[in-house]
């Protein structure tokens, strides 16, 4: 099969001189003298040098020979029965932040939560999670959290706060009270709010979502009479068309949709079929990157695309003119596929425009999705905010007609489009109380702060969809003097019941007894025994009116702006999480910042100063962007695949210093660029002006790190070709086998095979078809293995520590590239090149096939990293976690060097010190634990008992792991029975014999015209020439 040329960025595509230079010098590290001018210019005489050398040697000797410190062992006075030191406890809970619904299980050790994974019992998300769910455990130990209630910023007691607030509430004399929250999916919390309302009739509750889905809610009300969101069933869809809905990354509840979507992306070799996914968007999202057919358009054309699609599937609307030929063809193709899969198709849209969503509803109605892939019998409450309510509240605030304002879990002073108006309005309210967990942009303007618990310290419940409940129970006693929001509200409404008792009473009454309640807490969820059949709702939307409104909408200008959420940071609420800040964005591969994403075409048009080294240097030119009457300066970042006339900016950045050490001052706030169209918020601007400035700004981009230097490491084909000739994708493996007498393992080398795997041989298989690149595994690995955060400055030097990275490759046309995500981690080679270059045997091979790393043996020569063909070894250039032990040696990234934050560390895994190499260990601590459990019980280990952290976190089960020697194991079956045609090893021809196999990617798209393939072939040759 023809080898496609894959490239990480334009520098690699164009193979610039600077790129070649960069790749050549990958392992060259300049001495860190740039940090100190005086050191560099110092003239140290030889004698001084010897003196220092002598002194430091003597000092180190003396320090080392000091008395061993006396350690204490302090047992409990009265040990709680369920705690055994050294044995983890698991508690079911729920990640229900801002309306997302992910039932989880929290692992605690010695009373500290250290890891969050999905709750396997949940049919909504199973054991899957997202990067943000994984990261939530670190947010618990966030040093920026408020540690006590305050009045005007000064510490106070809860009793005093209660006294003052109740007095103030009584003194309002009927002036309206408003509670502003983000989406709440807890039925019991809503009851508490209702109880408060009963006490204060002038009360109203306003829901405000930082990134709004108001358009969908209102459109559904207009179309179906329900101001709600339906349950989507991506698993029932053969054709999926997304109009800018990033349902694998950020849209509503991505973990649920990714799980469903994955069902039809898996390939059964005996009966190869998969869903077909069309994607129309402006920026490139994770979902778009996974689409089979992807088309771009300007944000102003979204309505036209929806209308064209409706008309093409037979809707009674006139077809709008689509200027872009490729786009028009794409709509036709998508429509054809939708029509062919009547009742097995689904269209979703990420637009916040009511009219567009009505059109989308009409399309779904037309293609029979309603009642098949869209379930209106059950609904979800993932987002409930109505934009006009919020606008009304702010105008009430400004007119001084609001007596008291409470906020809980929202931060409008930061993320409201008219933050200034909101700030001005607060000053007119008589009583202001914030329940937020930190002194954020909003809270600092409020008189009273009544900080609520983190969800891991709280009680609670959540209703994911109708009849699906998940519960929240404390996994740790509150770290600070915080109090549940609900308890506070109950107290102020004159009810002495605590929130815990309130919730318990509610559910014990509902379930009929303590025993049932205990069971529910243990399971964490209540779900109907049988999943209810999808039901439909009668469509009554006014399509003609919506179409008219769309057609009369403002036409776009030359350049348009679109605002988007990043997978890790989202709306910015959890921005103060160093793990999430440092997670490379799946698409741009950058960390720690937001930026103006533009296409290469656009970059060229107004900027002549971009040199050839531009792509590989961290320094980026800063652009001044004017949109919706606001101005913002951001560095530019070139991304293939974005529409040439579009600039994309991520929201969620630009928090102030009070948000915390990690979030404070990182990036710029893009929320002011949002506009209000009279009904809903628009996250785009149709008329945008851009000018280049002379400033530059460094971006921590990981794209240029670990170049694979043009070697063939990704395999893919199209579904059509695969059905025609399933063997073709692995042709080269076949050749290799023939060349070596059908035993490449044995005959591929002169040396004898020294490794015997008598008991277990661990192996992993990664399906490139179901890896969506969301990054949950990266953060799961980070949490499980104490992987350090290094900070932007060090990311720029390619010192990031992630054991598991997800490489994103482009292929094909620069403007409409295809994308492949490839998780890359230590391949645990049987013939590991790293092992035989280690001078101290710190890295060597285990009898179970693990390439083991003994950190305390490592002397830091870094030979192993230089010799690794997969470039997965990470070196500790600094002491990332314990630098605070020296006062003047602080290199603290995002507050990770803090006794509080260090509570998140997994006690079963060593925290690596400076100067040692580290890499993926296949989560050896989990494997040892699973083996021990079986050994203690005197039984063989079962398949699936030992799971790696990345495997558990994956929403689409892309990762299969197990004992290859066990013929009953999933991994054996995948490799030897189920996926023999797709299974391949990366760089197999090197004869390093990796333990990780990959399954070739299959795209459900038409085969490419032959001519283009030839072009790639030539390009590949050129690459080879360069290498030579």
């Amino acid at each position: 099969m023809e080898q496609k040329k894959y490239w990480k960025g334009l520098e690699e595509l164009h193979n610039t001189k600077e790129h070649q230079e960069n790749v050549k010098n990958e392992f060259r590290e300049d001495l860190p003298f740039e940090e100190s001018e005086s050191l560099l210019n110092a003239t140290t005489p030889r004698r001084d040098f010897l003196k220092y050398l002598g002194f430091t040697t003597a000092a180190a000797t003396i320090a080392a020979s000091c008395e061993t410190p006396v350690r204490k062992a302090i047992p409990y006075v009265n040990k709680p029965e369920e705690i055994t030191p050294g044995v983890p406890n698991y508690y079911a809970s729920t990640y229900a932040v801002d309306g997302e619904y992910v039932p989880v299980v929290v692992k605690t050790r010695e009373g500290r939560p250290i890891k969050i994974d999905g709750n396997e019992l949940s049919s909504v998300s199973g054991s899957a999670s997202t990067a943000r769910v994984q990261g939530a455990v670190l947010s618990l130990y966030d040093a920026a959290r408020l540690r006590f209630p305050t009045i005007n910023g000064a510490e106070t007691t809860w009793a005093e706060l209660d006294k003052q607030v109740t007095a103030a509430l009584a003194g309002l004399a009927g002036a309206p009270i408003a509670l502003l929250t983000s989406t709440i999916i807890s039925p019991s919390t809503k009851k508490v709010i209702a109880a408060f309302q009963a006490k204060y009739p002038s009360f109203r509750h306003v829901t405000y979502d930082a990134v709004s889905y108001s358009g969908m809610l209102l459109a559904n009300e207009a179309s179906y009479g329900k101001r709600a969101l339906p349950v989507y069933h991506f698993e029932n869809a053969k054709t999926i068309v997304s109009l800018g809905a990033d349902f694998l990354g950020t849209w509503l509840n991505p973990v649920e949709y990714a799980k469903q979507y994955g069902v039809n992306r898996k390939i059964d070799e005996k009966k190869p079929e998969m869903s077909k996914h069309f994607h129309f968007e402006s920026m490139m999202s994770v979902t778009g990157a996974n689409a089979d057919e992807r088309y771009t358009h300007k944000p102003s054309e979204t309505g036209a695309v929806a209308l064209a699609l409706l008309s093409a599937v037979g809707g009674a609307v006139s077809k709008p003119a689509i200027a872009d030929k490729r786009l028009a063809e794409g709509i036709e193709k998508a429509a054809k596929s939708l029509r062919e899969n009547q009742g097995k198709a689904l269209v979703v849209s990420g637009s916040n425009d009511v009219n567009i969503q009505i059109i989308v509803n009409a399309i779904n109605n037309q293609i029979g999705a309603n009642g098949a892939t869209i379930d209106w019998a059950s609904t979800v409450g993932y987002r409930q905010g109505i934009d006009s309510d919020m606008v009304q509240l702010v105008s009430d605030l400004k007119s001084g007609s609001v007596g008291a304002l409470f906020v809980y879990g929202v931060n409008p002073a930061y993320d409201y489009y008219d933050a200034a108006g909101f700030t001005e309005g607060i000053k007119k309210a008589k009583l202001t109380v914030t329940f937020n967990d930190r002194k954020d942009e909003t809270s600092e303007l409020f008189k009273y702060a009544a900080p609520a618990h983190h969800f891991l310290e709280s009680w609670g419940d959540a209703e994911g969809r109708t009849g699906y409940y998940s519960f929240i129970q404390p996994t740790i006693a509150p770290l600070f003097k915080t109090r549940a929001f609900e308890t506070t509200l109950l107290t102020w409404s004159g009810n002495t019941t605590t929130w815990e008792d309130f919730l318990k009473n509610e559910w014990i009454t509902k379930l009929g007894g303590q025993e049932a309640w205990d069971k529910v807490l243990q399971d964490g969820i209540i779900e109907p025994a049988l999943a209810p059949a999808p039901g439909s709702a009668a469509f009554t939307g006014d399509v003609a009116a919506a179409a008219a409104a769309i057609n009369s909408a403002k036409k776009g200008g030359k350049l348009e702006l679109v605002l988007y959420e990043k997978v890790a940071i989202g709306n910015g609420k959890e921005a103060n999480n160093p793990w999430l800040q440092e997670m490379p964005d799946p698409i741009t591969r950058s960390t720690w910042d937001n930026y103006a994403v533009i296409s290469n075409t656009l970059a060229k048009t107004y900027n002549t100063q971009l040199g050839d080294d531009y792509e590989i240097n961290a320094e980026r030119k800063v652009l001044k962007i004017k949109a919706n009457g606001k101005e913002i300066e951001l560095p530019l970042l070139i991304l293939p695949g974005i529409h040439p006339d579009v600039i994309a900016i991520a929201v969620g950045y630009g928090r102030n210093q009070n948000a915390g050490k990690a979030a404070g001052g990182v990036g710029k706030n893009a929320y002011p660029l949002v506009s209000y169209n009279g009904k809903t918020f628009d996250y785009f601007s149709v008329d945008t002006a851009v000018e280049a400035t002379s400033k530059t700004y460094e971006i921590g981009l990981t794209q240029t790190h670990n170049s694979y230097e043009g070697r063939p490491i990704v395999k893919e084909t199209t579904l059509e070709e695969f059905i025609k000739n399933p063997k073709e994708v692995n042709e080269d493996r076949e050749e290799l086998a023939q060349q070596f007498d059908h035993d490449f393992r044995k005959n591929g080398t002169l040396y004898p095979d020294v490794h015997q795997y008598n008991g277990i041989k661990w192996g992993m298989s990664i399906d490139l078809n179901t890896c969506f690149g969301c990054g949950a595994c990266t953060i799961a690995c980070q949490a499980e293995n104490n992987v350090s955060v290094v900070g932007k400055e060090q990311v720029i030097k390619a010192h990031e520590m992630h054991w598991l990275r997800i490489d994103r490759y482009f292929a094909g046309d620069e403007n409409n590239p295809e994308v492949v995500f490839q998780p890359m981690l230590c391949q645990h080679c049987d013939n590991a090149p790293c092992e035989n270059v280690c001078p101290v045997a710190a890295t060597n091979h285990s009898s179970e096939g693990i390439n083991q790393m003994a950190y305390n043996r490592c002397i830091g020569t870094r030979y192993c990293a230089n010799n690794c063909p997969y470039k997965v070894r990470r070196f500790n250039w600094r002491d990332w976690n314990g630098a605070d032990s020296f006062d003047n040696n602080l290199y603290d990234v995002g507050g990770m060097n803090d006794s509080l934050t260090r509570m998140v560390l997994n006690p079963d895994v060593v925290v690596r010190s400076r100067g040692v190499m580290e890499k993926c260990s296949f989560c050896v601590q989990r494997l040892q634990d699973a083996k021990l459990t079986a050994k203690k019980a005197g039984r063989p280990m079962k398949d699936g008992e030992a799971k790696t952290a990345c495997q558990v976190a994956c929403s689409a089960d892309a990762i299969v792991f197990g004992n290859v020697n066990d013929k009953e194991s999933r991994i054996y079956k995948v490799r030897n029975e189920e996926q023999t045609n797709r299974s391949y090893y990366v760089l197999e021809q090197l004869h390093v014999l990796p333990s990780i196999s990959y399954l070739a990617k299959i795209r459900n798209k038409d085969a490419e015209p032959k001519a283009e393939v030839k072009g790639h072939h030539e390009a590949a040759h050129e690459g080879a020439k360069h290498e030579a």
């Binding site: 285990s846 790393m853 063989p940």
Partner: protein, 425 residues
């Protein structure tokens, strides 16, 4: 940490003495065996009964005299409620005097068992009445006598040194005589170099110093961070010998984590109080610190009470408890993963293998040096329960090899027990 070494001899004397006492005691075999009774008593009765004192149940001294019918007493001990139900006057009275608290039934006791227990009670009661306090302390007198079998190498060393000095003197004399002879003959001989300026001597001495110094430096460096024989003073004089040795309390009763967790677990104070609610006085053999200072066992129990806030007179917790800050003896570096349950449950190892004769230790010291070499040596020689534990059924090759008599057993090393990531991750 060398506190122990200096007093080792005295300790040995104590243990020999104890052993002798034990042997004499075991010789006096009676029909009913009070020593067997003691074990039974401690396992079953001691949590509620004391021989001399009333605790949860009545004091047991003279119990046989109090009951008119021995058969009834036997029945009472085995199943007290049946006696109460039968309406015996003494039994009903006893039952109501103790707030109608039912004594648990012991159906497993045979008549012989009960006799043993009663024999133990009467024996203890007799001893108590006779006053067994104030036995002569294990002897300061004996300590000197134990210094025997000194090391020969010291002797050889001294002889070598003397010989070396003699040789040196002789050489000096020789050179002086030579000089005299030469003077006499009138031959001009250069002034001899004094020995401290003689380069050969200096070179020799430097070489010797280098070897000796190097030897100590290397040994010192290897032992850095190792704490063999570490025996810190603990906040409470807790004697493992008294608990695990004399009273034969199972190790796992207190160190319950050894079966479940990586940590054996220092017992929480509520575990101590399971027994010490009733045992408020120490009546065993005299206790001495390693330095030979006498320890008042009862006062040490009082220290426990002070920590947990227990008032032994009022028989209730009167103050909030505070934890005991024990000094940790066995310290492993952070980069070592050690799991007790793996060794105790899967490996079926005895505690003593690594912790030494813990039942003989009043104060615990570190028995093994806990070095990597020590761990690995054991892993090399220890055989795993290969046939018995079904976990190992996956090792088909080894099973075949055993069948073919190629190997007779499988050691921990053969299944990866000496690989880095067995313990380091």
């Amino acid at each position: 940490m060398y506190r122990r070494v200096s007093i080792l001899m005295r300790k040995h004397f104590v243990s020999v003495l104890v052993l002798c006492v034990g042997m004499i005691a075991s010789l006096s075999v009676k029909a009913a065996d009070p020593s067997k009774g003691k074990t039974l008593f401690q396992q079953n009765c001691a949590s509620c009964h004391n021989v001399f004192k009333q605790v949860t149940g009545p004091a047991l001294m003279g119990v046989e005299e109090r009951w008119s019918d021995k058969k009834l007493l036997h029945q009472w001990i085995k199943n007290s409620s049946s006696v109460v139900a039968s309406g015996d006057a003494y039994a009903t009275d006893l039952f109501s005097r103790f707030n109608k608290q039912v004594m648990p039934a012991f159906p497993s006791f045979s008549d012989a068992d009960v006799d043993d227990i009663l024999a133990y009670i009467s024996e203890t009661a007799a001893k108590g009445a006779g006053g067994d306090k104030g036995k002569g302390p294990a002897g300061a007198t004996a300590a000197a006598g134990a210094e025997e079998g000194g090391n020969n190498s010291l002797l050889f060393g001294i002889i070598t040194l003397i010989l070396a000095v003699v040789a040196l003197i002789l050489m000096q004399i020789n050179s002086n005589l030579n000089k005299l002879a030469a003077d006499k003959d009138g031959v001009a001989v250069p002034e001899p170099v004094p020995f401290y300026k003689n380069k050969a001597y200096i070179a020799l001495i430097i070489l010797a110093l280098f070897i000796v110094g190097g030897y100590f430096t290397i040994n010192g460096a290897i032992s850095l961070g190792r704490q063999k024989d570490y025996m810190p003073e603990q906040p409470i004089f807790y004697s493992h010998k008294v608990h695990a040795g004399i009273n034969q309390i199972n190790c796992l009763y207190c160190h319950a984590g050894a079966e479940k967790s990586k940590h054996a677990m220092i017992p929480s104070e509520n575990i101590c109080m399971n027994c010490h609610k009733t045992i408020s006085e120490y009546g065993g053999p005299d206790l001495y610190t390693a330095e030979g200072k006498k320890v008042n066992g009862t006062a040490e129990i009082q220290k426990l009470y002070d920590h947990v806030g227990w008032d032994s007179k009022a028989q209730s917790y009167t103050k909030p408890g505070k934890p005991i800050e024990w000094t940790k003896i066995h310290n492993l570096p952070d980069h070592v993963y050690f799991n007790h349950s793996q060794h105790v449950v899967a490996g079926k190892q005895q505690c003593q293998t690594c912790h030494g004769a813990i039942t003989e230790m009043d104060e615990v010291h570190q028995f093994a040096d806990l070095s990597m070499g020590w761990c690995v040596n054991c892993h090399r020689t220890t055989k795993v329960q290969f046939a018995d534990n079904k976990y190992y059924s996956i090792f088909e090759k080894f099973h075949q090899d055993i069948k073919d008599h190629k190997i007779d057993s499988v050691t921990v090393e053969m299944i990866g027990g000496t690989e880095c990531q067995k313990c380091h991750y």
